[in-house]
């Protein structure tokens, strides 16, 4: 079964659809034209470049090139997580990179090498999109975890100090905020798994079906990716928060102001 191409005139019809939300936003007084145009232009350029790059990547199918691409994705994700979480990259970049890098390598490796088992474990067609999907979700989880954890600590500074004064070590004193941060990070994935197929048809599955796959095969891939996203997000947020504990505090267990970006 072939997927129907969307020709350029049809793409123009597609872009025209954006006029409806633009008009609605304008009518309710939200002047977002500039943001909307930037968003659409950036999406088009970025995805076109990725399309060109992925085509080349799949054709070459070189393990080093695939690895390099994943490395670039990890670096971009790393900086994006830290910027959005409101902490300074100078302090946390290595810890976050270690956390997301190790969890992505583990879960993508597990999925490709043990579950899908292509002819070569580095097969670009599998490794690159799967790592990208897992990383994208991991990114969200890590932003939420870091942001939630450190804002709770700053907000509950007195409670944290009380725990220290009651004999808690740093790790014991941050435990309630740590748990909340991890829970907030994995909750969206858990909720999404619980409603998948009922409330929405997941993107990857839809893509595969549109690409000509059998629905049953698409379902199996969707389950595989969700389990890997959940595993990877959990591992990455826990490692990331744990490593950050050695960076964000001074030797007296007090949060260092200088590690947070000014807002």
């Amino acid at each position: 079964m072939e997927t129907l191409d969307i020709a350029l005139p049809q793409m123009a019809i597609l872009y025209a659809l954006c006029l409806i939300p633009w008009l609605l936003l304008w009518l309710i007084g939200l002047r977002l034209s500039r943001d909307l145009v930037i968003g659409i232009v950036r999406m088009t350029i970025q995805l076109s470049l990725v399309g060109i790059y992925l085509k080349a990547l799949f054709n070459l199918n070189d393990p080093w090139l695939n690895g390099l691409w994943i490395l670039v994705m990890l670096i971009v994700a790393d900086l994006s997580i830290l910027r959005r979480a409101g902490v300074k990259a100078r302090y946390f970049a290595l810890a976050t990179f270690t956390a997301i890098g190790s969890s992505i390598l583990f879960s993508t490796g597990y999925l490709v090498a043990l579950v899908i088992q292509p002819a070569h474990f580095y097969e670009a067609r599998y490794v690159v999109p799967l790592a990208g999907m897992i990383l994208g979700n991991c990114l969200q989880g890590n932003v939420i975890a870091l942001e939630r954890f450190y804002s709770a600590l700053r907000k509950n500074e007195n409670e944290y100090a009380t725990f220290l004064m009651l004999g808690a070590t740093r790790r014991e004193a941050v435990r309630p905020y740590f748990r909340d941060g991890v829970k907030a990070a994995i909750n969206p994935t858990l909720a999404s798994m619980a409603t998948m197929g009922v409330v929405s048809l997941p993107g990857m599955m839809t893509g595969q079906i549109l690409g000509g796959s059998e629905p049953w095969l698409a379902v199996k891939y969707q389950i595989a990716i969700m389990i890997c996203i959940f595993t990877s997000s959990t591992i990455a947020t826990i490692i990331n928060l744990k490593l950050s504990l050695n960076i964000a505090f001074n030797e007296f267990d007090v949060l260092k102001d200088e590690v947070f970006a000014r807002r």
Binding site: M165, L166, G167, A168, E172, V254
Partner: protein, 220 residues
């Protein structure tokens, strides 16, 4: 006798602002001291500095003769109890709040018995039924006494109190005074309560981070 707490020319800055300037005083074991002064004078900062929560720019804080360092701060935190104006109980029920420190590695093996819990509540004029109350439902004065009860259960010998008597009625205040009449307990407090200040051996006036006056009552 050597001091249990000593501030030696301590200057503390926070966010590029001097909050304590060249502060020196000493407290012998068993002594009670009160810090007073206007809002922003640095009274609470003295307590926070001793707890290792403020970075010292110059000078030294000594506890049991040891300078305050990242290692000795653990000893200070284990030996002292801090009770603030609005104490944080850190647990949903009063019972959980009282038992909270015994979840930590440092106190895991010293969990109090039910009889010990009852005895400490009685000592502070708190009803036994309060154990099952929600922490958010009890008054400020009760919270302060629960925080104090926690210190007593941990057998702390040094108490850092921030306006502890402010929310207490006459009877509860007497119960608290009674606890601190123990000559083994050392107290460094922030207080404007004349009754408490009268009971203190040392009364220190602070003004915009500067030590203005030290008065000594009774034995030096």
């Amino acid at each position: 006798m050597s001091p249990i707490i000593r501030f030696d020319q301590v200057t503390v800055t926070a966010l590029d602002k001097i909050i304590l300037s060249n502060i020196s005083f000493a407290l012998l074991p068993g002594q009670k001291a009160a810090l007073y002064g206007k809002s922003g004078a640095g009274k609470s900062s003295v307590l926070r500095t001793l707890m290792g929560l403020h970075a010292i720019q110059s000078g030294t804080v000594y506890f049991q003769g040891e300078p305050l360092t990242s290692l000795s701060v653990r000893i200070i935190r284990n030996c002292t109890a801090y009770i603030g104006q609005e104490p944080v109980l850190g647990a949903e029920s009063v019972r959980e709040a009282l038992l909270l420190p015994f979840q930590f590695k440092a106190h895991r093996h010293h969990r109090p018995t039910e009889a010990q819990l009852m005895a400490v509540l009685h000592r502070l004029q708190l009803p036994a039924a309060i154990l099952n109350s929600k922490s958010s439902r009890i008054s400020g004065g009760e919270k302060q006494r629960i925080a104090l009860a926690r210190g007593l259960l941990l057998d702390k010998k040094v108490y850092l109190l921030d306006e502890v008597t402010s929310a207490l009625d006459r009877e509860s205040k007497q119960a608290v005074f009674e606890v601190f009449s123990d000559p083994q307990l050392t107290v460094l407090s922030v207080s404007h309560d004349p009754e408490w200040m009268e009971r203190c051996d040392i009364v220190i006036e602070l003004e915009t981070g500067i030590l203005n006056k030290i008065e000594r009552h009774g034995n030096p």
